[in-house]
């Protein structure tokens, strides 16, 4: 098939979604450009190639996690257990490797743990009919608690010695780009393909757009829900591995950080509505770039952590307000749970 056919085909499909989001995307793009310009003027070091690569690298992890989150959010769910799954599955794999398992076997077990966690959450939501926010909030604490109680005691788990290749991944680069960025790019392409090209992807949008209609039309609701949370868990595990390889360790304390909110910030700022049925991969990229610029600039400026959080919150509010001014919802089209 011709290249032109593919791009017009997929762009038509989401034309509807794009149209309604265009304004918010525009706003975020403007904000991102503004932040970029301000930081470039304020900080001479900001614009150096080294810093720019460091910037993208540091947020690629966030971006990868946001891809997993986006998939769930598009189908009108939410997964706030991702960080717990990430730290526990990776940390456990490292512990196992140090206690005698081969490293590969340990990595496989870590992956299986993540899958099981996703399966459990999916079952809870699909069959227990628990609201996703509560199910994943509770599951996150359970997973983290299990991990700290039974699997490992230390917060900091180093990459087991003797696996230089693993640590090498985090430092290596491909065509001059750090592997983290390459991984983010590959996952973006993959998710884009899934969302626009596959039956599963289309059904995700249908579920997010109107779950009752999707159900009546014959969507396999429960298997789909389970699949979503298993995918987001595996994505979290992958992100954890990449994070560990570039930092040579995984820090379980991330569970108590604001990381999960940063992921949601990326998703929402990028323009993926929390009420589902909207958004594409490019929204995630946009959100990642913007949040990346913001975090990196503030870090170079040495802004206090609490102030950083304040700024993030204000930016989110600003984006939401700007969106509702530019994009007023009328009474007939608005739905319950609209942001």
């Amino acid at each position: 098939m011709s290249q032109g056919g593919i791009s017009t085909g997929s762009s038509r499909f989401f034309l509807a979604a794009q149209r309604s989001l265009r304004s918010q995307e525009g706003i975020v793009l403007i904000l991102a450009a503004a932040a970029f310009t301000v930081f470039s003027f304020l900080l001479p070091s900001f614009l150096s190639a080294g810093n720019l690569i460091a910037l993208v690298r540091s947020v690629s992890i966030l971006g990868i996690l946001a891809l997993g989150m986006a998939l769930v959010v598009i189908a009108r769910g939410i997964d706030v257990s991702m960080i717990a799954t990430m730290v526990v599955s990776v940390a456990w794999a490292f512990v196992l490797a140090r206690t005698g398992y081969s490293f590969n076997a340990a990595l496989l077990i870590g992956c299986l743990f993540a899958l099981t966690a996703g399966l459990g959450i999916g079952l809870l939501i699909a069959y227990g009919e628990v609201a996703p926010i509560f199910a994943t909030l509770a599951a996150g604490s359970v997973i983290y608690g299990l991990g700290r109680t039974f699997f490992f005691q230390l917060e900091m788990q180093n990459v087991p010695p003797g696996n230089e290749w693993f640590a090498e991944i985090g430092r290596a680069s491909f065509l001059g780009l750090p592997i983290t960025i390459v991984a983010f790019a590959i996952l973006c392409l993959l998710l884009h393909g899934v969302l626009t090209r596959t039956r599963f992807g289309w059904q995700l949008y249908a579920m997010g757009s109107n779950p009752a209609a999707a159900r009546t039309t014959g969507a396999p609701m429960r298997p789909m829900i389970i699949a979503q949370y298993m995918i987001s868990a595996v994505v979290a595990y992958l992100a954890g591995l990449i994070l560990a390889s570039s930092a040579s360790a995984i820090n379980a304390r991330l569970f108590n950080s604001t990381m999960i909110y940063d992921i949601l910030l990326v998703v929402v700022l990028g323009g993926i509505g929390l009420n589902g049925g909207n958004g594409r991969v490019r929204n995630v990229i946009l959100g990642t770039v913007f949040v990346g610029i913001l975090l990196n600039g503030m870090t170079i400026l040495n802004i206090d952590y609490t102030v950083q959080n304040l700024v993030k919150g204000l930016v989110l509010l600003l984006a939401i307000i700007a969106d509702s001014v530019v994009n007023p919802r009328d009474e007939q089209t608005s739905q319950q749970g609209d942001l």
Binding site: F13, A213, A214, M221, E331, T333
Partner: protein, 499 residues
């Protein structure tokens, strides 16, 4: 007589495409004014401007001779204008009473007080709805009654009813017309939109007809006949196939094998030991008053409502006992249920027309990883868009931007693309214009001729009478009477449904 609402050369465009253009319209004080036109003619859009939902692109809106722009529905309400929308707009997680008093909660709400007031209000309107039930558990007709009750609860000067009678049964329609007359006697002015032309002729003082966004004619209701209305609506003579006209020498199709049979099926209070059989190659019409459990019986058969383990009865599909727990199982067995409430579980609002229809085909297949392109979606749905004449002002319109009747066509196409062998239509022509009703009826007939088993649930007697080969009458959760085409008369059916 003075005008309370006047449009002067009013135009409303959506992204450059006019929904109506250069309309001069007036609503007099104390009249009932029927607004008629085909699907997509611009009726809802015109009235939504009066209700403060949209503002005009050009032209003027005058209220009592003053040029006004209403910025929001709240503004309109302050100006004494209340509207019941075509699509229901209730808060599902609240009770009927809470919905009626929505927007005027006091700082401290006393639930008991609200319930009593709502009870009195509903009783005055002769609507049998329990004020303490949750709106999400109500069927389409009861929701409509709550909407009406909510609107007339405001002491407005202008009421706009957009297809209020589409889901109501004759009994409630009667109460509703009484209500309109009472409001009129109290001095209110009313705009009434309907696709049932007899209703307009019977209750309206004046009639206006829109066609493709232009106001064709406004005149005294007495000067119109059904024929002249249709001619003004479609711009040509429509003859033949319209129901209510060509009835008479119709022979019922002979039954094929039994496709669906329910034996003593029960579920809660809604369905009590219902038994019925549907045959291939025939259309079974189910009539009943609101609350008779017709929708529930069929939703159980289609796996949409799950019966508790304890609820008894058996269902056989094609001779085999089945108990569908999710709609997907039923869809795989060739059952399609076409909903009565398209906004609730019919359409994917944010998606386009082609995607909506294609979703039907998509859901039926099994491999989640199969590759799909937009071109495939457009090709698959094109023939249905063509066949059902789905009309929109632009090809890429989202379904939420379609007129009500066109949304209904999309919902029908989405199910038929699944090529089902048992098709359940729940109020198939709700909100569909006269021309399109004829087309949809022809299509339903064609399905039965081709050997499919068809069930039509309808609260509109002429529809039941002109379509069905067998007529089943439901009351209080069970089927109480079965009539052949020859036996069935309006009186007999109504008698069975009420007594």
């Amino acid at each position: 007589m003075t005008d309370i609402i006047t449009f002067r050369r009013a135009t409303k465009e959506f992204r450059g495409n006019p929904a109506f253009k250069d309309v001069d319209f007036s609503l007099r004080k104390g009249e009932i004014h029927a607004l008629l036109g085909e699907n997509g003619a611009g009726k809802s859009t015109l009235t939504k401007v009066i209700a403060g939902l949209y503002s005009l692109t050009s032209g003027e809106l005058l209220i009592e001779g003053e040029v006004r722009t209403l910025a929001s529905p709240a503004d309109a309400l302050k100006a004494g204008i209340a509207m019941v929308f075509q699509e229901t707009n209730l808060v599902p997680s609240m009770t009927v009473a809470q919905n009626i008093f929505l927007g005027e909660e006091r700082f401290f709400n006393r639930l008991r007080g609200i319930n009593i007031l709502a009870q009195q209000h509903l009783q005055r309107l002769n609507f049998h709805v329990e004020p303490t039930t949750l709106v999400s558990t109500l069927g389409a007709a009861k929701k409509q009654m709550v909407e009406i009750a909510r609107a007339v609860h405001h002491s407005a000067r202008v009421f706009i009813f957009d297809e209020p009678t589409a889901t109501l049964t004759p009994e409630e329609k009667h109460h509703f017309f009484e209500l309109m007359k009472r409001l009129k006697a109290e001095g209110a002015s009313i705009i009434f939109i309907s696709h049932a032309l007899e209703e307009a002729l019977a209750v309206a003082d004046r009639i206006s007809i829109l066609r493709d966004g232009a106001l064709i004619v406004t005149d005294d209701a007495r000067t119109f006949t059904r024929q002249s209305i249709i001619q003004a609506m479609v711009g040509r003579q429509l003859t033949g196939e319209l129901y209510g006209q060509a009835r008479g020498a119709r022979t019922a199709r002979s039954p094929g094998s039994a496709v669906l049979s329910l034996r003593n099926v029960s579920m809660g209070k809604a369905v009590r030991s219902a038994s019925l059989t549907v045959f291939a190659g025939q259309i079974a019409g189910i009539f009943g008053l609101v609350g008779a459990g017709r929708t529930e019986m069929m939703k159980i058969a289609a796996g949409i409502l799950k019966r508790d383990f304890f609820d008894g009865g058996s269902i056989r599909l094609g001779g085999k006992a089945v108990r569908f727990r999710v709609p997907r199982d039923a869809v795989k067995h060739g059952v399609a249920y076409i909903t009565e409430d398209r906004k609730l579980d019919g359409i994917f609002e944010a998606m386009g027309i082609a995607q909506n229809i294609f979703m039907g085909a998509l859901m039926k297949h099994t491999n989640p990883a199969s590759i799909i392109t937009m071109r495939e979606a457009r090709e698959c749905s094109a023939e249905w868009i063509e066949m059902l004449k789905v009309r929109s002002i632009s090809e890429n319109a989202r379904v939420v931007e379609l007129s009500g009747g066109n949304q209904q066509k999309v919902v029908i196409a989405k199910s038929l693309i699944q090529n089902p062998s048992l098709i359940i239509f729940d109020e198939p022509t709700r909100g569909v214009d006269v021309g399109a009703i004829g087309e949809i009826h022809q299509m339903i007939a064609k399905l039965a001729d081709a050997g499919a088993a068809v069930v039509v649930i309808s609260s509109y007697l002429p529809e039941i009478l002109s379509l069905s080969d067998r007529i089943l009458v439901a009351r209080q959760g069970r089927i109480v009477e079965e009539l052949t085409v020859d036996e069935a008369t309006e009186e007999r059916i109504m008698y069975a449904a009420v007594h």
